[in-house]
Amino acid sequence: MVQNLLFQGLVGLTGAMYLWLIAAGLTLIFGVLRVLNFAHGSLYMLGAYFALSASLWMHQGFWPALAVAAVGVGVLGVLLEVVFVRPIYRLAIAYQLLLTFAFVLIFNDAVKMVWGPLYQAPPMPAGLGGSVVVLGRPYPVYNLFILLAGVVVAAALWLVFDLTPWGRAVRAAASDREMAAALGVNVPRLFSQVFGVGAGLAGLGGALTVPMQTVSPGMGENVVVDAFVVVVIGGLGNLWGAFVGALLVGLLQAYGTLFVPVFDLALAFIVMAAVLIWRPAGLFGRSG
């Protein structure tokens, strides 16, 4: 029984890392640019397709495919920010929602045009396939790899934002963009970079899920809803909050399946509703 519980915890942690990889970029973009990017799920989907094409069409290995996805979607993110998002910072938030929702529709159809509407199952990367016995039960090696990847991404983001001058400038601009500009920070360029990094994280997240699930148009929509739940629980715009929110939702879903299978899909939403009632700014958000 104890082993069972522990094993389910491991499943939950893996699920949490999948969520975290997507939620990180979403909360980063909102925290700095104050743009709620509905198209984040589409960027995630594009990451998956980019990785798929890199391995199927260009016969690249797993690692180059990851790089292609992260960098490719990151560059796309920069273009989107410069061409479309930048002109509407001054407008009401409804315009941002409309714009990013338009991206969702456009990218979904674009993906169908380029890759076709069918589900595609890519190959498992060498060395990460198969399973090992953990706590007396077989567990996919790839899921352990995802656990590691999530922690690495979290550590990397923490290093970048807390310890580098670039990260300091980002935090300053997130707090007061006008004042940051008056201190010499090139805020428009910084915003493009942050949007690119956020998009790149989505792309990386999509590419990382490729070996474990089928790739299809619309795969972003399901995921982005979960990511929003995670981000809202943790506090919109708070990276650390998104990490904790992902852990919470991941574990809840895993144990929910075990104990209350009827409710397991609703659990995350119930928690989100509870958080919104008790702490409207999220667990780590700052009110006001």
Binding site: A181, L183, G184, V185
Partner: protein, 529 residues
Amino acid sequence: MSAGATLSAGAGKEPLLAAHNLTKAFGELRAVSDVSLSFFPGELVCVIGPNGAGKTTLVNLLSGRLAPDAGRIVFAGGDITRLAPHDRVRLGLGRSFQITSIFPGLSVAENLAIPVLARMGRAAAPARRAWKVPGVAESVRKYLDEWQLADYGPLPAASLSHGSQRLLEIAVAMAGEPRLLILDEPTSGLSLAEKPEVLVHLRRLAARAHATMVLVEHDMDIVFSLASRIVVMHQGMVLADGAPEVIRDDGRVREVYLGAALEAAPSQRRERAPGPAQALLTVRGLEAGYGLGRVVQGVSLTVHRAEVVALLGRNGAGKTTTLKSIMGLVRPSAGEVELAGRRLTGLAPHRVAAAGIGYAPEERRIFAELTVRDNLAVADQLARRNHQRSRPRLWPIDQVYALFPDLARLAHLRGDQLSGGQQKMLAIGRALMGNPEVLLLDEASEGLAPPVVRMLGEAVARIRAQGVSILMAEQNAAFAGTAADRLYILEKGRVQFEASSAELGASAEILHRYLAVAGGEARASGATP
């Protein structure tokens, strides 16, 4: 002495609000340390003390914005230590803020309607229907008239000048008809001309039997003319508590607070370096504004190398907008800004900063979630780039720490844990970190206790001694007079007068005409009468 005075003030009465052994620390810093105070019905208590004494923290504890680490707060017989701010407001404990906090997007009348509705228990009434709730329109009109805001009723609150916004904020706090009202520096940001007006309102309010007020204030004229009791705070503790006459004669209070102001402030002005002055910053025919309003209507001015120039004027005269236009934060509709012959007009703020202009805004605008050190370090990249362009780096971080030793001591605290005065220092230090040739200081002396104002004067002199020019917007004519070499007086967005500070000091008529100050009264804003 404090015990006796307190007893006589509240003889035979129950305190309305009582704090018992309140303590609040931010990291290592004990902002409020074991403070016990009682406030009795009908009293007007002024809380004074040097910057960083813990006044704002105390107010935040009383109003529920911060939770104490230890201690209890009792209001009207009930323990409110753990009550949320809005619940305290409902019980009748209201407050205003040191930083203007009204709803900028709502109209002046709507801002006033919010507390009126809240009092009726209709806080959630939709804005559009608010006016149909019986009595709301009448109440709001009453407050508009009372505060002489009737002309502004339908305008967005954001369109009011800083001074009028402060008035509105106090009016909003009053409209809640609290049993006890805490006002945190209600006159900060007001010109000497506007202060008496607020004073009249406060006096009338104090005269009402049911109003009890706690006032945090720096202006000693206001404190001594209003207070029925004065509480002096120093380093997080209550240093003295008693009637104004008692406080005035208290040796320790004179020493840490009033005494410093009573000494004649030495003139920090030095003779300008001989030789032909070199124009560094030139502004010609600058026009700027927001929406349809033309706040700045053709300002021309010059700042020479290593010169301190002050822009004097009342609220709404266009001082802040002039500085913001120079910085590129407001896009001027006409005119030119040049730095050492290079045109800056229309450049983005980060390019203006790179060209060599630093900016310390009136509202401080500290990055709340960054530490003091990180706040300073934001401008580090800028200084490095400027340094590469062979401008010697005058203000590395240790020089800034030497200028403001407080910042070194507080380096690891978060920006929002500093007191208002410390944030002013940080804003100036942060601007210096970018290694500017010209430093723009917006209302640097506003809200500072007299000893700190004097320290600021010394800092200005030291900054100038390094060859940095300063353009400061000031309402405090006395501070500008001692700190600046030359002054421009702004009124209605135009330069009305230009003089050396010596000439201006001698001309009581000019001071009176443009600043509504009699020459004889021009004094450090904290000097005792």
